[in-house]
């Protein structure tokens, strides 16, 4: 945050009185946000993409992004993109990483801040009709514009790590869900198979699941119990976790 040009080493340098003048001379770069919007449907982790509108990326898929406005906080910009594209507010949104490779954008230097957001596909109407807005399989989607495949990979890694430490996954499920749905979610995101019995044991022992007394409907087998996640209890209990392990 500081740099004194032409300040001879060792010489006592005067303080800078006018900070605005200093900043005026700083190089400026175009700054954007890109949202990696994760959803969950048909037991697959999905990501929301749109067709690129750049000629050089014709036919390729692109994240939902936009330029950051003057004096706009990055979080605000990300929420704005989300609101504009999905109509949703109050969803989970998290800054993950900033990408700055000088040639990542064919139009010249553009730095972008990647946000991950998780939302329940069912709660969501793809109301915006411009371009083609689609859910894609996170692991298999190819033909991405820019460095967006790399951005998705980074955010997907972040997601895999985070859902093991925080109850983020519930943002991808309906408010009431069966244990099978929960397990499917974890298996899809972590890309592993888990033992059903141990999975249930683990979640019940954490004691954040509330039995709603209701059952699944419209399933062609024995309906499972529906649960809600007790966010209030979780918030109160947040424990500090010490466990060196690598």
């Amino acid at each position: 945050m500081k740099n004194l040009k032409n300040a001879p080493a060792g010489e006592k340098t005067a303080l800078i009185g006018n900070a605005a003048l200093l900043v005026q001379d700083y190089p400026r770069v175009p700054l954007t946000v890109d949202c990696v919007i994760f959803g969950f449907e048909e037991n697959k982790l999905k990501v929301l993409l749109i067709r690129s509108d750049l000629e050089v990326y014709k036919g390729k898929w692109s994240l939902l992004g936009d330029v950051v406005h003057e004096n706009e906080d990055l979080d605000d910009a990300a929420y704005r993109v989300l609101q504009e594209r999905t109509g949703m507010t109050n969803v989970y949104l998290k800054q993950v990483h900033t990408f700055s490779s000088p040639h990542r954008h064919p139009g010249g230097r553009v730095v972008t801040v990647a946000y991950a957001s998780l939302l329940n596909i069912k709660h969501h109407e793809l109301c915006i009709t411009e371009n083609e807005l689609h859910w894609h399989n996170v692991r298999t989607v190819r033909d991405m514009a820019f460095d967006h495949r790399e951005i998705i990979d980074t955010c997907y890694n972040w997601l895999q790590k985070s859902i093991q430490e925080h109850p983020l996954g519930f943002n991808l499920l309906p408010e009431k869900f069966s244990l099978r749905e929960l397990q499917n979610l974890y298996e899809a995101i972590l890309n592993v198979e888990l033992d059903r019995r141990n999975f249930r044991k683990k979640f019940f022992s954490m004691d954040f699941l509330i039995d709603t007394g209701e059952f699944e409907e419209d399933v062609k087998h024995r309906p499972g119990k529906l649960y809600r996640f007790d966010f209030a209890k979780y918030e109160k209990s947040k424990r500090k976790w010490i466990g060196i392990d690598f």
Copy 2:
């Protein structure tokens, strides 16, 4: 990464042929990097700070930072700052978070990307004489310029989490270290007291410590064995860790 002004909804929009023209119209912001340089000495976690050279922050402490140059990658910028200030290269450096509050800089909007870096104070001569460059206690240092206290907090949280999952701590120690030094490091960073016997057991069971056959010198008690960390073995063994827990 895309936004079409004045595109009537539903209307088929033409592809953009000239990406450079598009980017030309993007708003631009001053972009800096700030390095949170952690060190370890006298069993305390330290952070390297310099006096702010802004009049409004007279007497306050500031992180080591600089503007990002044209077409410069952020990682490169952070390494450059580190090199310029400490003369060190090949040290651990990691992007942690980007801070963008519109009024975080008194000179106007400046977005900064925070990097954390860990280095061994002994390997390091504070050769740069301009301003006052000092190591400060991470948890107690106050009177910080800008939002640098918040940036340090964020990076410190990142560090606490990371040293439990990755062998980063060894970058803060001499190449050969005693188990007591290692434990002191963990206790200082995590701000807890650990059981000596269980700590040793844990590290030995991970099996990444190489007994050098050498012993501490110049200690006024029974010298402890000196170990090295087996980075090569660690790299080969990186295990994928599945453990849902919150």
